[in-house]
Symmetry: C2
DNA sequence: GTGAAAGCGCTAACAA
DNA sequence: TTGTTAGCGCTTTCAC
């Protein structure tokens, strides 16, 4: 049940069958038809391993995610996938698995085995060792989200985006603004949270506001983390911020939930703004800086595929993001 | 930069190098050390294609998802992934991409190319053609969620689970209960929604309650869909249900949001119960039937890996699910 | 438009 | 414990 059987049945050579199966132009149309028919009858299944060995191309792209269950990663993954499918490429998923997964082994063991022709990294900053190891494999690489020293990068400018959000709150008249972001999660080495925090702090300072240390809170980029952060921030009546800027919508939803639970009304008692454009946010009136991770995924996939096809890597312009004002932000009382 | 170079440098044969690299017991420890060292120095990267060709094993498993951005699929995918990583297998993701993606091509073109040793299908029911095509590839297969004619299946018993939820509401004294589920989404051929609806209807009828047609609503298994369903169901003051059973937590969260927006209090004016155990639900007090898709993913992965290793496929017992009562359900007024 | 032959990089008998 | 020899199933020159 290989190409050979088809050759035998049709009386053609393996070479011609191979060409016919791929629809190469140097093959007679009648031959192509015949080969295809016989292949179907025989239930022929091509072997990508054999093809890969012969050509050196696997027609597969690896996608590396820090963890799976975050809105942004899932959306971006979907975008990469859509583009790969269009191009007839398979997608190999490398999930570093957050805290639990031993990142090292994941990197060495699988990603380097020439199983893929290119790599798309989600929000990851590689250290020197990792870069060296990946370099060995010599495939095209690109990073989605977050700056990437030495690598191409697609995504929004996080500092700018954070400034935008902060500026919106300042423009409404808020001065007492808290930030809910994240830390580098368990060695996942993600730079995004820090860049957004910097954008926030810089914008606040530039406008002449102080940023109390206690108002830079870790929300772990999750809904539950947002709730915890919100409760910490809003629990006491004294010295409560009038607005909270969250580095992701998931955390913003958590803060809104915490606020409601504490009897605060949004936006009358508290303004909340997030980043992302999460569907839930639209439904509950969350003001946000909207971005399109799916589009970013598609762009990234196209970029590496082009490079696989021999194109010279060109830098990708920053992805668009825009302020979407909804019901969760208003002037302070 | 293949195994050959290492052989040349060390003065050993390709065969020994191959064995050493894999740490086979028939190789001298000193040889293993030496080979590993030289391999490192040379920056050797193994070729999974070559190994796959030679052994017929790709050390990769395919996971087929109908769409990517649903809580259940992401969690289950994570579970499968964790187990595969443990076993040193790669995960190839086949996303049917919902309505847009042309399911046929996806099936033929990629999944059958012997790129993977086994397949895990998420919530998919295959039609005869598809089953035949996949059968060609002859790899072990298993389905997570939903019954699978002719295939092994891991997951909760959806009829039972729906009955449990419905029973909880009935037990509280509700009689006017609506159901929010889903349809077969754009040919994705997912059976779960129907099974849960059946469980609901059967339980209602058995308790002597009628189920108006208009109270079986499509919530598209999404948050937004849940909101729409909730608005349709609760919009008019006359003939409003006192409780809603949603076939997923995401929809239940939507219904709760719609209720709040319409000025109804949960649970005073409306009880809501879901299925899943979604993190957001815990935070907002949603009563639910909790299941563990990640565990289901691990079980499924283990099952197919065992089969790849020659084990006889044994049926998997139904996965556990349990009622978690929180604040969203109460007796009707 | 088609065929013959070499080889992609590894593993797996079988010998030694 | 190590080496020799065949392939695994394709693609790809180079001839015809």
């Amino acid at each position: 049940m290989g190409i050979q059987e088809i050759a035998t049945v049709t009386g053609l050579s393996k070479a011609t069958v191979s060409r016919a199966l791929r629809g190469l132009p140097t093959v007679a149309d009648t031959t192509i038809d015949q080969v295809r028919r016989v292949a179907d009858e025989l239930g022929y299944v091509p072997s990508s391993a054999a093809a890969g060995l012969a050509t050196g191309r696997q027609r597969a792209v690896g996608v590396v995610v820090p963890v799976l269950d975050r809105w942004f990663y899932v959306k971006a993954l979907g975008g990469v996938d859509a583009e790969l499918r269009r191009a007839g490429y398979d997608l190999v998923l490398y999930n570093l698995g957050g805290p639990g997964g031993d990142r090292d082994r994941a990197f060495r063991r699988s990603m380097l085995r020439h199983r893929v022709d290119a790599l798309v990294l989600l929000s990851l900053v590689l250290d020197a060792t990792e870069r060296n190891e990946l370099q060995l494999a010599e495939h095209p690489m690109i990073v989605i989200g977050g700056p990437a020293p030495g690598l191409r990068n697609v995504g929004v400018d996080d500092v700018v985006v954070a400034g935008l959000a902060t500026g919106h709150l300042l423009g409404l008249g808020h001065r007492r603004i808290a930030y809910v972001g994240g830390q580098d999660e368990a060695g996942m080495n993600v730079a995004v949270p820090y860049r957004r925090r910097d954008g926030f702090v810089d914008t606040m300072r530039a406008a002449g506001n102080r940023v109390p240390r206690g108002w830079l809170v870790d929300g772990r980029f999750s809904f539950a983390g947002g709730i915890a952060a919100g409760e910490a921030l809003l629990g006491s009546e004294v010295d409560r911020p009038t607005a909270v800027f969250c580095a992701s919508d998931e955390m913003a939803l958590g803060v809104m939930t915490a606020a409601t639970r504490l009897g605060l009304r949004v936006p009358e008692d508290l303004s909340v703004i997030g980043i992302d454009g999460h569907e839930y946010g639209a439904s509950v009136g969350l003001t946000t800086i909207e971005q399109d991770p799916e589009a970013q995924g598609r762009v990234a996939a196209r970029a590496v595929l082009a490079e696989v096809d021999g194109a010279r890597p060109r830098p990708v312009p920053p992805s668009p993001a825009r302020l979407v004002v909804r019901r969760s932000t208003a002037p302070p009382r």
